[in-house]
């Protein structure tokens, strides 16, 4: 039997510098920069990483099992709690999957509203990523700038549906809330104010010598590895693969809008940073177009009061801020789903961690965890 090298065998001893014994360092679950309760076991030679193993499940809440005991509509708020920094996207994915199962489509106005809110949510999610990622690398100030501007997005959410974080903004079949008075103006005002702020973040980081040194060439992932590991989202695009579900399998009204898919070249942490920054710019572009073209009409499709989809199964995925977020739902024609399986982007992207950090230093592990942009609520579900 050939020796496997893709997992961390804590019993074997690898050859280390000067034959010193290697150090097994337990990073997390209580650690400032594992973004929640991720536990990474590091095998180190001095500061050099020989291998890692992720231990997950500290935030496991059995969301998928809960779904089997809730009606379709009742389960809707639960999905917000998975990726809690991008709750709107989660809700969108679930609602669309059930709509696909029911063969209904949300009316145009609802679709536009959904796009606006999801793109706002993408900006908010990327801002949390940027702030925490910069914090991991030691720049403490961008965090506060990002959270200041994220606040504006959350205010729009709050005005729209009353909640800031776990919004539960969409319902199966459309939206339940009509856009409030001044929604369009708020969105436009945010877009106008946000772009200069984005330049401000870039001023702090993009050409910062230390930032560039810390991120360039760190955690390189080539396109083949990305595809083999199933990595999606900005991490995949930074490696040069132009794959975005908004373009590849347009859902909602994304085919109506004109936007670019930013891609990177080297697949390193710096490219992932640039891709996400550019994605925020593109999100602003989409929001502007959607607000300008917001059609009139109903916001809710004809959906029965009691949702009983026909027997069958459906897989629907959307481009969440962190990557492909898929829902696989099996219906047995009862009011409750027979099985719901979530394909969370964070969980899949996290698998790339070991490949990315082998041979790097401890400080890079932190940078790579940050650049993968994981949310443990989504990893553990």
């Amino acid at each position: 039997m050939s020796k496997r090298t893709d997992y961390l065998d804590l019993d074997t001893k690898d050859e280390t510098f000067l034959d010193a014994t290697e150090l097994v360092l337990n990073m997390g679950p209580q650690h400032p920069s594992t973004h929640g309760v991720l536990r990474v076991i590091l095998k180190l030679d001095g500061e050099k990483v020989l291998g890692t193993e992720c231990v997950i499940g500290y935030l496991h809440r059995g969301v998928e099992k809960i779904a089997e005991n809730r009606t379709y509509a009742m389960f809707n708020p639960y999905v917000d709690r998975m990726d809690y920094v991008a709750a709107v996207s989660n809700g969108l994915g679930y609602c669309e999957a059930v709509e696909k199962l029911l063969s209904v489509e949300a009316p145009p106005r609802a679709q536009y509203l959904r796009v606006i809110l999801t793109e706002l949510c993408r900006i908010a999610s990327h801002q949390v990523w940027l702030g925490t990622h910069a914090l991991d690398i030691g720049a403490i100030t961008p965090l506060f700038y990002c959270f200041r501007d994220r606040e504006e997005v959350l205010k729009i959410f709050e005005k729209y549906c009353g909640a800031r974080l776990t919004t539960h903004a969409f319902r199966i079949g459309g939206c339940i809330y009509e856009a409030y008075e001044g929604f369009e103006q708020d969105c436009k005002k945010f877009c106008d104010a946000f772009l200069p702020k984005l330049d401000e973040y870039e001023e702090l980081l993009t050409t910062n010598r230390i930032w560039v040194e810390r991120t360039k060439g760190v955690g390189i992932l080539n396109p083949e590895d990305c595809i083999a590991l199933g990595v999606t989202g900005p991490v995949l695009r930074a490696s040069g693969v132009k794959w975005d579900l908004r373009k590849a399998q347009p859902y909602e009204s994304y085919k109506d809008f004109d936007f670019e898919i930013p891609t990177g070249v080297n697949g390193d942490t710096y490219d992932r940073y640039l891709v996400r920054i550019e994605e925020m710019r593109q999100a602003v572009r989409i929001i502007r177009q959607a607000v300008d073209g917001l059609p009139q009409g109903p916001i809710m499709a004809k959906v029965p009061k009691v949702i009983k989809p026909p027997v069958g199964e459906v897989y629907h995925s959307i481009e969440a801020p962190k990557g492909e977020l898929g829902y696989f739902i099996v219906s047995d024609a009862s009011t409750q789903p027979y099985r719901v399986r979530v394909r969370p982007p964070s969980f899949v992207n996290l698998q790339a961690l070991d490949k990315m950090v082998r041979g790097l230093l401890v400080a890079d592990v932190v940078a790579v965890i940050g650049t993968l942009d994981i949310v443990l609520g989504e990893v553990d579900r």
């Binding site: 150090l23 360092l25 337990n26 650690h31 400032p32 920069s33 500061e47 910069a134 914090l135 991991d136 690398i137 030691g138 720049a139 403490i140 100030t141 965090l143 506060f144 700038y145 200041r148 702090l204 980081l205 910062n208 230390i210 930032w211 040194e213 810390r214 230093l361 401890v362 400080a363 890079d364 932190v366």
Partner: protein
């Protein structure tokens, strides 16, 4: 008694030089108190300045504008449970913070706050300071080792590697400053007071001497000193996001506060070296250009003026306080604090006092500038990675320091060299 004090105050030497043990003790106590107070102020200022850089308010609850926050923190740390990990090497664990604090304070023995305002003047002052301040790394290694835990161990290893490599660049920069005291005059000195006096007699701060050589040496030192004190962007030994808290992860309560005290007093100490060596120590700016009794008179008002401005700030704060009963105590407190500052300003107007504190004032102002830089760095820069840190130390700072040293020597010896060359040619 009063005659004795008066008699002493009129002497022109430090207590160490005069061999006066009583006054030396008084000075040591004054320095320790002063440094501790400075650390408290620094604690508050760092939080406030950093907060305002980060669009926050910082501490606002404990006392008006959080002025009592450092005291509340100190009290909290003192009454906290003192935890020693079970597997720790107790003796070493116990002594590590003591070593760190002691070395940080000992360096202040030779810091000249003024011609007579130093505990002593050693003829090897700079060497003493460099030697003692580098002992601090011993305490950090002890802390990391004795904690018997992975994160502190890695923090202390990083710290020792970092301090050792940056000390060399720092030493080279210092040597080039020392060289400047001897070149052209022929009599060099390692004494801290001597170096400032050399700058006075050469009518220039060494940062401007042999431009840009003096400035380069200063820059090398200014970067190395940030690394030496483990502050951002070189704060790897306590890199929060990587090593939790680095070498003092296992420390809590009073012992932790000793590390805190040591870190900040080390920052003050290295800033004092920089000020002494390159920024003219206790000298006021432009002593010759803006010389004469009139300018002296004008400059002697500055310490008082500073306190008046601070007091005015406090009074402005009281005016801007919300006019509701809940804020009455805070408003009164801020007003009292302002009045206190104003009173200090008035005392500083007394000619006998103002003459005496002139030099201390300028020294403190220059050190404060460095302290502000420390905070500014922390708000601006990401953290270096370990190998990059070593690269900066060995591949950038060390060659620069060495080059500046050689260039300084050549520049200083220019007259002799050219004379020798013309002699050979003839």
């Amino acid at each position: 008694m009063i005659e004795y004090i008066k008699g002493y105050l009129s002497t022109g030497t430090t207590p160490g030089e005069a061999g006066n043990l009583f006054w030396a003790t008084v000075y040591i106590l004054l320095v320790i108190t002063g440094v501790s107070v400075a650390v408290l102020c620094m604690n508050w200022l760092e939080r406030k300045i950093l907060a305002h850089m980060q669009i926050r308010l910082g501490p606002m609850r404990v006392g008006p504008h959080g002025l009592l926050q450092p005291f509340a923190d100190a009290l909290k740390l003192l009454i906290k449970e003192d935890i020693i990990p079970q597997d720790a090497d107790k003796l070493v664990f116990w002594s590590a913070p003591v070593v760190v604090t002691m070395t940080a304070f000992t360096t202040f023995l030779v810091v000249p706050f003024g011609r007579t305002h130093a505990v002593t003047d050693m003829n090897i002052g700079v060497l003493f300071m460099l030697g003692v301040s580098s002992l601090g790394v011993l305490g950090i290694i002890m802390a990391g080792w004795s904690s018997n835990s992975h994160y502190p161990l890695m923090g202390s290893l990083r710290s020792s590697a970092q301090m050792v490599s940056y000390e060399i660049a720092m030493g080279l920069a210092i040597v080039s400053a020392v060289l400047m005291t001897s070149l052209q005059t022929g009599t060099g000195t390692l004494s801290m007071i001597g170096i400032v006096e050399a700058q006075a007699s050469q009518h220039t701060w060494f940062i401007f001497k042999f431009f840009p050589l003096g400035f380069l040496a200063f820059a090398v030192f200014a970067i190395a000193m940030v690394a030496e004190t483990n502050r951002a962007p070189f704060d790897l030994p306590e890199a929060e996001s990587e090593l939790v808290a680095g070498f003092h992860t296992e420390y809590s309560g009073f012992r932790w506060s000793l590390f805190f005290l040591a870190e900040y007093s080390a920052m003050l100490a290295v800033s004092s070296i920089a000020v002494t060596l390159w920024l003219g120590g206790w000298m006021r700016p432009f002593p010759t250009l803006l010389g004469g009794p009139a300018w002296d008179m004008a400059f002697s008002f500055l310490p008082a003026l500073t306190f008046f401005v601070l007091a005015a700030g406090c009074f402005l704060g009281t005016i801007r306080m919300p006019k509701i009963p809940q804020f009455r105590v805070q408003t009164i407190g801020l007003g009292t604090f302002g009045a206190l500052l104003g009173f200090v300003g008035l005392v500083l107007l007394v000619p006998a006092v103002s003459v005496r504190v002139q030099d201390i004032y300028w020294f403190v102002v220059k050190v404060a500038f460095f302290m502000y830089l420390y905070i500014w760095y922390r708000g601006t820069f990401p953290r270096y990675r370990f190998d990059q840190l070593m690269k900066v130390g060995w591949k950038v700072l060390l060659p620069t320091g060495l080059g500046v040293l050689i260039a300084t020597a050549l520049w200083g010896l220019m007259p002799q060299l050219s004379a020798a060359i013309t002699g050979v040619l003839q």
